[in-house]
Protein backbone atom coordinates (compact mmCIF):
# COMPACT_ATOMS: atom_id res chain seq x y z
CA UNK A 1 0.00 0.00 0.00
CA UNK A 2 1.52 3.25 -1.09
CA UNK A 3 1.67 6.23 1.18
CA UNK A 4 -0.23 9.24 -0.10
CA UNK A 5 -0.21 12.81 1.17
CA UNK A 6 -3.19 13.74 3.35
CA UNK A 7 -5.85 15.70 1.48
CA UNK A 8 -5.48 19.47 1.90
CA UNK A 9 -7.74 21.06 4.47
CA UNK A 10 -9.90 23.59 2.62
CA UNK A 11 -12.28 24.18 5.51
CA UNK A 12 -10.72 27.57 6.31
CA UNK A 13 -10.87 28.64 2.65
CA UNK A 14 -14.39 27.45 1.92
CA UNK A 15 -16.32 29.93 -0.22
CA UNK A 16 -19.98 29.40 -1.12
CA UNK A 17 -20.76 28.68 -4.75
CA UNK A 18 -21.60 31.58 -7.08
CA UNK A 19 -24.20 29.54 -8.95
CA UNK A 20 -27.21 30.55 -6.84
CA UNK A 21 -26.65 34.36 -6.92
CA UNK A 22 -25.94 34.23 -10.66
CA UNK A 23 -29.04 32.13 -11.29
CA UNK A 24 -31.21 34.47 -9.22
CA UNK A 25 -29.75 37.48 -11.06
CA UNK A 26 -30.47 35.94 -14.46
CA UNK A 27 -34.00 34.92 -13.47
CA UNK A 28 -34.74 38.39 -12.07
CA UNK A 29 -33.82 40.00 -15.42
CA UNK A 30 -36.00 37.56 -17.36
CA UNK A 31 -38.81 37.95 -14.80
CA UNK A 32 -38.61 41.75 -14.97
CA UNK A 33 -38.86 41.83 -18.75
CA UNK A 34 -41.79 39.40 -18.78
CA UNK A 35 -43.50 41.47 -16.05
CA UNK A 36 -43.04 44.66 -18.10
CA UNK A 37 -44.32 42.91 -21.22
CA UNK A 38 -47.28 41.58 -19.22
CA UNK A 39 -48.03 45.04 -17.78
CA UNK A 40 -47.93 46.51 -21.28
CA UNK A 41 -50.61 44.07 -22.45
CA UNK A 42 -52.71 43.63 -19.28
CA UNK A 43 -52.61 47.07 -17.61
CA UNK A 44 -51.39 49.71 -20.05
CA UNK A 45 -48.36 50.41 -22.20
CA UNK A 46 -47.87 53.70 -20.30
CA UNK A 47 -47.36 51.92 -16.94
CA UNK A 48 -44.83 49.55 -18.50
CA UNK A 49 -43.11 52.48 -20.22
CA UNK A 50 -42.81 54.48 -16.99
CA UNK A 51 -41.46 51.48 -15.08
CA UNK A 52 -39.21 50.43 -17.94
CA UNK A 53 -37.84 53.93 -18.45
CA UNK A 54 -37.17 54.46 -14.75
CA UNK A 55 -33.47 54.03 -15.47
CA UNK A 56 -33.53 54.90 -19.19
CA UNK A 57 -32.98 51.97 -21.57
CA UNK A 58 -30.82 50.11 -19.12
CA UNK A 59 -33.63 49.16 -16.70
CA UNK A 60 -32.35 45.63 -16.00
CA UNK A 61 -29.13 47.18 -14.69
CA UNK A 62 -30.98 48.15 -11.48
CA UNK A 63 -31.31 44.42 -10.81
CA UNK A 64 -27.52 44.31 -10.41
CA UNK A 65 -27.93 44.67 -6.67
CA UNK A 66 -29.75 41.30 -6.40
CA UNK A 67 -26.86 38.90 -7.21
CA UNK A 68 -24.52 40.99 -5.05
CA UNK A 69 -27.06 41.01 -2.19
CA UNK A 70 -27.57 37.23 -2.35
CA UNK A 71 -23.83 36.78 -2.69
CA UNK A 72 -22.97 38.79 0.43
CA UNK A 73 -25.66 37.02 2.46
CA UNK A 74 -24.03 33.70 1.55
CA UNK A 75 -20.48 34.99 1.88
CA UNK A 76 -19.92 37.99 4.19
CA UNK A 77 -16.31 38.14 3.02
CA UNK A 78 -17.34 38.95 -0.55
CA UNK A 79 -15.06 41.60 -2.10
CA UNK A 80 -16.38 44.54 -4.19
CA UNK A 81 -14.66 43.14 -7.29
CA UNK A 82 -16.43 39.83 -6.73
CA UNK A 83 -19.73 41.70 -6.35
CA UNK A 84 -19.07 43.31 -9.74
CA UNK A 85 -18.39 39.90 -11.26
CA UNK A 86 -21.48 38.29 -9.70
CA UNK A 87 -23.85 40.99 -10.93
CA UNK A 88 -22.13 41.26 -14.31
CA UNK A 89 -22.46 37.51 -14.94
CA UNK A 90 -25.96 37.19 -13.43
CA UNK A 91 -27.57 40.11 -15.26
CA UNK A 92 -25.45 39.36 -18.35
CA UNK A 93 -26.73 35.77 -18.45
CA UNK A 94 -30.35 36.97 -18.18
CA UNK A 95 -29.70 39.56 -20.91
CA UNK A 96 -28.21 36.84 -23.13
CA UNK A 97 -31.41 34.80 -22.81
CA UNK A 98 -33.48 37.86 -23.79
CA UNK A 99 -31.10 38.55 -26.68
CA UNK A 100 -31.65 34.99 -27.87
CA UNK A 101 -35.41 35.56 -27.82
CA UNK A 102 -35.04 38.85 -29.75
CA UNK A 103 -32.71 37.44 -32.42
CA UNK A 104 -34.67 34.22 -32.88
CA UNK A 105 -37.98 36.07 -33.15
CA UNK A 106 -36.93 38.84 -35.57
CA UNK A 107 -34.85 38.68 -38.73
CA UNK A 108 -32.04 41.17 -39.33
CA UNK A 109 -33.94 42.74 -42.24
CA UNK A 110 -37.05 43.17 -40.07
CA UNK A 111 -34.89 44.90 -37.44
CA UNK A 112 -33.50 47.27 -40.07
CA UNK A 113 -37.04 48.08 -41.27
CA UNK A 114 -38.25 48.65 -37.71
CA UNK A 115 -35.29 50.93 -37.09
CA UNK A 116 -35.92 52.93 -40.23
CA UNK A 117 -39.60 53.28 -39.37
CA UNK A 118 -38.81 54.46 -35.83
CA UNK A 119 -36.20 56.97 -37.00
CA UNK A 120 -38.48 58.36 -39.72
CA UNK A 121 -41.22 58.64 -37.10
CA UNK A 122 -39.01 60.61 -34.71
CA UNK A 123 -37.88 62.95 -37.52
CA UNK A 124 -41.49 63.54 -38.55
CA UNK A 125 -42.41 64.32 -34.94
CA UNK A 126 -39.62 66.93 -34.80
CA UNK A 127 -40.51 68.71 -38.06
CA UNK A 128 -42.36 71.51 -36.24
CA UNK A 129 -39.53 72.11 -33.78
CA UNK A 130 -37.67 75.33 -34.79
CA UNK A 131 -34.40 73.83 -33.48
CA UNK A 132 -34.66 70.84 -35.78
CA UNK A 133 -32.16 71.73 -38.47
CA UNK A 134 -31.32 68.46 -40.22
CA UNK A 135 -31.56 68.68 -44.00
CA UNK A 136 -33.15 65.93 -46.12
CA UNK A 137 -29.71 64.58 -47.00
CA UNK A 138 -28.64 64.53 -43.36
CA UNK A 139 -31.85 62.75 -42.39
CA UNK A 140 -31.27 60.10 -45.07
CA UNK A 141 -27.69 59.70 -43.87
CA UNK A 142 -28.94 59.20 -40.29
CA UNK A 143 -31.52 56.67 -41.50
CA UNK A 144 -28.84 54.74 -43.39
CA UNK A 145 -26.68 54.75 -40.26
CA UNK A 146 -29.69 53.62 -38.21
CA UNK A 147 -30.35 50.72 -40.60
CA UNK A 148 -26.74 49.60 -40.17
CA UNK A 149 -26.78 50.01 -36.39
CA UNK A 150 -30.23 48.75 -35.45
CA UNK A 151 -29.64 44.96 -35.64
CA UNK A 152 -26.73 45.31 -33.22
CA UNK A 153 -28.47 47.71 -30.84
CA UNK A 154 -29.89 44.96 -28.54
CA UNK A 155 -26.40 43.46 -28.26
CA UNK A 156 -24.87 46.81 -27.37
CA UNK A 157 -27.60 47.49 -24.83
CA UNK A 158 -27.06 44.05 -23.25
CA UNK A 159 -23.33 44.69 -22.93
CA UNK A 160 -23.87 48.13 -21.41
CA UNK A 161 -26.56 46.79 -19.07
CA UNK A 162 -24.25 44.01 -17.85
CA UNK A 163 -21.46 46.48 -17.17
CA UNK A 164 -23.76 48.92 -15.37
CA UNK A 165 -25.25 46.13 -13.27
CA UNK A 166 -21.70 45.03 -12.41
CA UNK A 167 -20.99 48.55 -11.19
CA UNK A 168 -24.15 48.45 -9.09
CA UNK A 169 -23.08 45.05 -7.69
CA UNK A 170 -19.74 46.57 -6.72
CA UNK A 171 -21.43 49.49 -4.97
CA UNK A 172 -23.94 47.17 -3.25
CA UNK A 173 -21.11 45.10 -1.79
CA UNK A 174 -19.30 48.24 -0.65
CA UNK A 175 -22.45 49.38 1.17
CA UNK A 176 -23.56 45.99 2.52
CA UNK A 177 -20.15 44.61 3.47
CA UNK A 178 -19.99 46.45 6.78
CA UNK A 179 -23.46 45.26 7.79
CA UNK A 180 -22.93 41.65 6.79
CA UNK A 181 -19.54 41.22 8.46
CA UNK A 182 -19.80 38.56 11.22
CA UNK A 183 -19.08 39.68 14.77
CA UNK A 184 -15.78 38.58 16.27
CA UNK A 185 -15.91 36.16 19.25
CA UNK A 186 -14.46 38.83 21.55
CA UNK A 187 -17.22 41.25 20.65
CA UNK A 188 -19.93 38.87 21.79
CA UNK A 189 -18.12 37.94 25.02
Amino acid sequence: MSMSAPPPDHSQNFRPSWVLPILIGALSVIGMMFTLEGLAFVVSPEVALVLGCASCCFSPAILGFIPAFVGIIRDPGLQPGEGFALSFIGVGAGSLVLLGVVYMGTSIEEMRDQGEEAIRGSFEAMQDDPNFTLSEAEQEKAIDAGRAIFPYLPLGMAMATSLLSGLLGLVSVLILRGRARPQSPTASA
Binding site: L49, Q79, F132, A145, G146, G156, A160
Partner: protein, 150 residues
Protein backbone atom coordinates in the same frame (compact mmCIF):
# COMPACT_ATOMS: atom_id res chain seq x y z
CA UNK B 1 -9.18 54.88 7.98
CA UNK B 2 -5.91 53.04 7.23
CA UNK B 3 -5.19 52.62 3.55
CA UNK B 4 -4.98 48.97 2.49
CA UNK B 5 -1.99 48.44 0.20
CA UNK B 6 -2.57 45.68 -2.29
CA UNK B 7 0.08 43.97 -4.40
CA UNK B 8 0.32 44.92 -8.08
CA UNK B 9 -0.89 41.48 -9.20
CA UNK B 10 -3.98 41.50 -6.89
CA UNK B 11 -6.82 39.68 -8.70
CA UNK B 12 -10.18 39.98 -6.91
CA UNK B 13 -11.93 37.59 -9.33
CA UNK B 14 -10.96 34.58 -11.41
CA UNK B 15 -8.71 35.64 -14.33
CA UNK B 16 -11.18 34.26 -16.91
CA UNK B 17 -14.01 36.40 -15.50
CA UNK B 18 -11.66 39.37 -15.28
CA UNK B 19 -10.75 39.04 -18.98
CA UNK B 20 -14.42 38.59 -19.92
CA UNK B 21 -15.40 41.83 -18.14
CA UNK B 22 -12.53 43.71 -19.81
CA UNK B 23 -13.42 42.27 -23.22
CA UNK B 24 -17.11 43.20 -22.91
CA UNK B 25 -16.11 46.72 -21.83
CA UNK B 26 -13.83 47.15 -24.86
CA UNK B 27 -16.48 45.74 -27.25
CA UNK B 28 -19.17 47.98 -25.74
CA UNK B 29 -16.89 51.02 -26.13
CA UNK B 30 -16.19 50.19 -29.78
CA UNK B 31 -19.91 49.68 -30.41
CA UNK B 32 -20.98 52.96 -28.82
CA UNK B 33 -18.19 54.90 -30.54
CA UNK B 34 -19.47 53.46 -33.83
CA UNK B 35 -23.06 54.47 -33.04
CA UNK B 36 -22.19 57.96 -31.81
CA UNK B 37 -19.93 58.69 -34.77
CA UNK B 38 -22.71 57.68 -37.21
CA UNK B 39 -25.61 59.78 -35.88
CA UNK B 40 -25.91 63.58 -36.08
CA UNK B 41 -25.72 65.49 -32.78
CA UNK B 42 -29.06 67.21 -32.19
CA UNK B 43 -28.89 71.00 -32.54
CA UNK B 44 -31.29 71.43 -29.59
CA UNK B 45 -28.57 70.17 -27.23
CA UNK B 46 -30.60 67.13 -26.24
CA UNK B 47 -32.61 64.35 -27.88
CA UNK B 48 -29.84 62.86 -30.04
CA UNK B 49 -31.05 59.39 -29.01
CA UNK B 50 -34.23 60.07 -31.04
CA UNK B 51 -32.13 59.58 -34.17
CA UNK B 52 -31.84 55.95 -33.05
CA UNK B 53 -35.61 55.60 -33.08
CA UNK B 54 -35.97 55.92 -29.30
CA UNK B 55 -38.77 57.95 -27.76
CA UNK B 56 -38.34 61.59 -26.79
CA UNK B 57 -37.62 62.36 -23.12
CA UNK B 58 -40.90 63.14 -21.34
CA UNK B 59 -39.57 65.98 -19.13
CA UNK B 60 -39.07 68.55 -21.93
CA UNK B 61 -42.40 67.53 -23.48
CA UNK B 62 -44.44 67.62 -20.28
CA UNK B 63 -42.71 70.24 -18.14
CA UNK B 64 -40.52 72.15 -20.65
CA UNK B 65 -37.60 71.35 -18.33
CA UNK B 66 -34.52 69.18 -18.75
CA UNK B 67 -34.27 65.87 -16.94
CA UNK B 68 -31.00 65.20 -15.04
CA UNK B 69 -29.51 63.33 -18.00
CA UNK B 70 -30.89 65.48 -20.83
CA UNK B 71 -28.04 66.18 -23.25
CA UNK B 72 -25.77 63.32 -22.16
CA UNK B 73 -26.07 61.45 -25.48
CA UNK B 74 -25.65 64.71 -27.39
CA UNK B 75 -22.51 65.59 -25.41
CA UNK B 76 -21.12 62.09 -25.98
CA UNK B 77 -21.84 62.43 -29.71
CA UNK B 78 -20.00 65.77 -29.88
CA UNK B 79 -17.02 64.31 -28.03
CA UNK B 80 -16.78 61.22 -30.23
CA UNK B 81 -17.05 63.49 -33.31
CA UNK B 82 -14.01 65.49 -32.06
CA UNK B 83 -15.87 68.55 -30.76
CA UNK B 84 -14.84 68.47 -27.08
CA UNK B 85 -15.73 72.12 -26.38
CA UNK B 86 -19.27 71.70 -27.73
CA UNK B 87 -19.57 68.52 -25.66
CA UNK B 88 -18.72 70.35 -22.43
CA UNK B 89 -20.98 73.29 -23.29
CA UNK B 90 -23.86 70.92 -24.07
CA UNK B 91 -23.72 68.80 -20.91
CA UNK B 92 -20.59 68.79 -18.70
CA UNK B 93 -21.58 65.57 -16.94
CA UNK B 94 -22.12 63.80 -20.27
CA UNK B 95 -18.75 64.97 -21.57
CA UNK B 96 -16.88 63.86 -18.43
CA UNK B 97 -18.80 60.56 -18.30
CA UNK B 98 -17.82 59.86 -21.91
CA UNK B 99 -14.19 60.75 -21.25
CA UNK B 100 -14.17 58.52 -18.18
CA UNK B 101 -15.78 55.65 -20.11
CA UNK B 102 -13.16 55.98 -22.86
CA UNK B 103 -10.41 55.99 -20.23
CA UNK B 104 -11.91 52.90 -18.55
CA UNK B 105 -12.08 51.11 -21.90
CA UNK B 106 -8.48 52.04 -22.59
CA UNK B 107 -7.45 50.51 -19.26
CA UNK B 108 -9.49 47.38 -20.07
CA UNK B 109 -7.74 47.11 -23.45
CA UNK B 110 -4.31 47.55 -21.85
CA UNK B 111 -5.17 44.90 -19.25
CA UNK B 112 -6.19 42.49 -22.00
CA UNK B 113 -3.00 43.11 -23.98
CA UNK B 114 -0.73 42.86 -20.95
CA UNK B 115 -2.61 39.98 -19.34
CA UNK B 116 -2.92 41.93 -16.09
CA UNK B 117 -5.97 42.13 -13.83
CA UNK B 118 -8.47 44.83 -14.86
CA UNK B 119 -10.64 44.37 -11.76
CA UNK B 120 -7.51 44.38 -9.59
CA UNK B 121 -6.61 47.78 -10.97
CA UNK B 122 -10.02 49.41 -10.62
CA UNK B 123 -10.62 47.94 -7.17
CA UNK B 124 -7.72 50.11 -5.94
CA UNK B 125 -9.62 53.24 -6.94
CA UNK B 126 -11.51 55.24 -4.28
CA UNK B 127 -14.91 53.99 -5.50
CA UNK B 128 -17.15 55.75 -2.88
CA UNK B 129 -15.40 59.08 -3.55
CA UNK B 130 -15.81 58.61 -7.29
CA UNK B 131 -19.52 57.83 -6.95
CA UNK B 132 -20.22 60.79 -4.67
CA UNK B 133 -18.25 63.11 -6.98
CA UNK B 134 -20.24 61.79 -9.97
CA UNK B 135 -23.52 62.47 -8.19
CA UNK B 136 -22.38 66.01 -7.33
CA UNK B 137 -21.30 66.62 -10.91
CA UNK B 138 -24.61 65.24 -12.23
CA UNK B 139 -26.57 67.66 -10.03
CA UNK B 140 -24.36 70.63 -10.97
CA UNK B 141 -24.68 69.77 -14.67
CA UNK B 142 -28.45 69.51 -14.30
CA UNK B 143 -28.48 72.99 -12.74
CA UNK B 144 -26.30 74.29 -15.61
CA UNK B 145 -28.62 72.66 -18.16
CA UNK B 146 -31.64 74.18 -16.42
CA UNK B 147 -30.07 77.66 -16.48
CA UNK B 148 -29.12 77.42 -20.16
CA UNK B 149 -32.36 75.70 -21.25
CA UNK B 150 -34.05 77.30 -24.24
Amino acid sequence: MPRVERPEQFEPVHPAIDRLIALVLVLAAVFFIWILSAIPADARGHGTHEALGMGACSWPLEYQLPCPTCGVTTAATHLVQFSPWRAFVTQPFGAILTLFSLYLSWIALLSLLRGSSFMGRISRWPIPTLILSSLGLLLLSWLYKYLTWE
